[in-house]
Symmetry: C2
Subunit: 427 residues, 2 copies
């Protein structure tokens, strides 16, 4: 079975033809993608995926969060499926590998098994997790979170999340006919384990000239929604000394987020989103919202860095000595995730069948993934392939065909390795 | 004629009933207004105004920018009208005195003359200038600027300005049926002079317990649209040291706008609008736009303060030592305006008929007004009344009935004083 090979040319064609059709942007580099969750482009890509999986004889289930489970039967009737999941949605200015590669590679695994007429012991499940990016509907990895039942957001909460046009996620699911009836709960619609092929999105593999990352954990992260309040006034008539300018205060706070993260070396902290209540250039802004994204190797470090950031905020507010203030209006977090040795072992063994040990690196993920949620309820690991210059969430995101096809092959090998052990009841 | 009195109760009723109907906001204080230029609310207020003026026998002309000229005939056939102008539009979160008071007071002047059957020598023109705020369609005092032919923006430019929904101003004028045929050019549709009653929008009259400001000039101002460019990246995987975060750089620049204005004491500088290309909290922002509003007593000081701000910017960019950069993408300016002694004299004499000298203050305007543009082509002055605590561009904007009715009375007196001199050919 180790000699079973995926069809690189087919995967290449599938990956690029679907991206070109559903989400490519005419003024971006060829690799750029905008396929927001539950958009028309997402619907087209989903419809195509469902059709392809059905053509392979899969049973397709859609759950209450729109997660697609395409299940290929195994010989065992008492085992849950081995999952191969990732996501088809992208950032508004993203690339065609982040997420999409993992789903397309899983399809290629199913196609390879199908054309070679191989029946695994456990069933297999290709999974497209809804709204992994959290770009249209705030809250990344939203639907794997609901499925795991370990997220602080319930199904109800997530159904009520609104996009910028105030459309509810539940309505958006109905719009594209992906509000399914399968319960979004791992206890009702479970998996044996979860594997995810993904681009690294960071520079480590590329810099160290490694081909495969065996992912052992995902770093912890926390998001804080901040509101800065000041006093509105006329930009021409309000003396500089009498101002409580919310944007000036927010600017000082945002600068300090970077400075604190850089100086403490505890992790990374980013303000990606800023919005002002004011849309007039002749008005002193009175309300600014922004979101801080903090990520560190451990949960303890996330807490330390966050508390240092807010200490810096309090100092700034004191020094400003006006009527501006801030409050934390919402937090969201993904605790550190430790992956399962059985899955990690399968990935490592799978990689060693293709490349030598010095091309393989054990590593932590610095980005969040659906696998972080699945790891809380089923054995999980991930396979990373290199991102050129570590660029991601950017139209210039790039992974070479050699690397992504190697990744897809390692995914196939890992699934078969795990399945073999499951069959002999070693797992 | 000095004993002719406006009807305060009627003006009070007109001012508040029209504001309550067209632009009041249920969750704001009673004085709050949102009546954006060429919105449905603006249309309703305009339609009402036109009807009221026609009922007084006025000839109503609408020009190519939607400016309304309601002209009441005088006895002279060879003189242009004495203008009484201001604006009916407001900021998105503004008040019911800024602009609206000036137009409603002008209507009260016409009503008072009408019911007392007084015919002036010169014709009189009530004027509603379109889009003074520049809040919906960027570019404040836009239409008086076109009329004066001295603005850098042509009629064509202004017709093509788009709001946030990408609606062109010309189309918006058509939407509400205010795209008129009268040429928007003072040489074709001229005025004898221009008077404007307005709230001060600053704290000076209120603090110094004065009742009337005789406005002698408008300070110079300049707006700069800035774009900060960085490199997009993933918030989790891009090390702090390798980032070119456009929002962090923009934050440092915005802080320095305030610090430079405060420290040099040359004038005021404000960033009222900020927008990020990025709407994802997991992405390092690569593009930020913001607008700087600089205002000083003289044009020279505007130049000095602006150049000091940009020197501070260059230092910051150098210190950041990454790939972020900025460019000035557009500028717009209103040079210092000096009002005309004949109009200033009429306002001062008009005020002295109502209050003693120690309640009157000669002052510069720190805010821009349509009168700044009219002053470039016809004799102009303004009447200021106190703003409580100097608050404006804010739903809490407030001017007491004593003050605004005094202002309307002074407007009537000033127009009659000017008209008397015009009749005796002294002006």
């Amino acid at each position: 079975m180790a000699s079973l090979k995926i069809n690189c040319a087919r995967l290449n064609h599938t990956l690029h033809s679907t991206c070109s059709q559903w989400g490519a942007h005419p003024s971006w580099p060829e690799t750029g993608m905008c396929r927001l969750a539950l958009s028309e482009e997402d619907k087209m890509a989903r419809d195509w995926l469902v059709q392809e999986c059905k053509a392979l004889g899969c049973d397709v289930k859609v759950d209450q969060m729109g997660n697609i489970f395409a299940i290929r039967a195994g010989t065992a009737t008492d085992r849950k499926p081995i999952g191969m999941g990732s996501h088809l949605d992208t950032q508004p200015a993203g690339g065609r590998y982040d997420g999409i590669l993992g789903v397309q590679a899983a399809l290629e695994v199913l196609r390879t098994l199908h054309e070679n007429d191989i029946k695994t012991y456990c069933p297999l499940a290709l999974i497209d997790w809804t709204n992994e990016e959290g770009a249209r509907f705030p809250g990344a990895m939203m639907s794997s979170g609901v499925w795991s039942t370990k997220s602080s957001l319930s199904l109800q909460d997530c159904h009520n999340v609104r996009d910028e046009e105030h459309r509810k996620l539940k309505d958006a699911l109905e719009d594209i006919a992906y509000l399914g009836e399968t319960l979004c709960d791992y206890r009702e619609n479970g998996l044996e384990c979860h594997f995810e092929l993904h681009i690294e999105q960071g520079p480590i593999l590329d810099k160290e000239k490694k081909s495969i990352g065996v992912v052992t954990a995902v770093q912890g992260m926390k998001w804080f929604a901040i509101r800065v309040m000041g006093i509105e006034g006329h930009s021409g008539t309000t003396p500089m000394a009498n101002r409580s300018d919310a944007l000036v205060t927010a600017s000082r706070l945002i600068s300090s987020v970077r400075d604190t993260a850089l100086n403490t070396r505890l992790g990374v902290a980013t303000v990606g989103v800023i919005k002002s209540d004011t849309s007039s250039q002749a008005t002193i802004p009175a309300g600014i919202n922004f979101i801080i994204d903090v990520r560190c190797s451990t949960d303890k470090m996330v807490e330390d860095l966050s508390s240092k950031i807010f200490k810096a905020f309090d100092k700034i507010i004191e020094a400003e000595c006006n009527e501006t203030s801030y409050k934390i209006t919402k937090t969201w977090g993904l605790p550190e995730s430790i992956f399962h040795p059985n899955c990690i072992g399968s990935v490592r063994a799978a990689a060693l069948e293709e490349v030598s040990d010095d091309e393989i690196l054990d590593m932590k993920s610095h980005a969040g993934h659906d696998s972080a949620w699945t790891s809380r309820v089923v054995p999980t690991s991930m396979i990373f392939v290199p991102s050129k210059d570590g660029i991601s969430h950017n139209p210039n995101e790039y992974t070479s065909p050699e690397h992504w096809s190697l990744g897809a092959q390692v995914l196939l090998n890992a699934v078969l390795k795990y399945d073999e052990r499951a069959k002999t009841r070693e797992y």
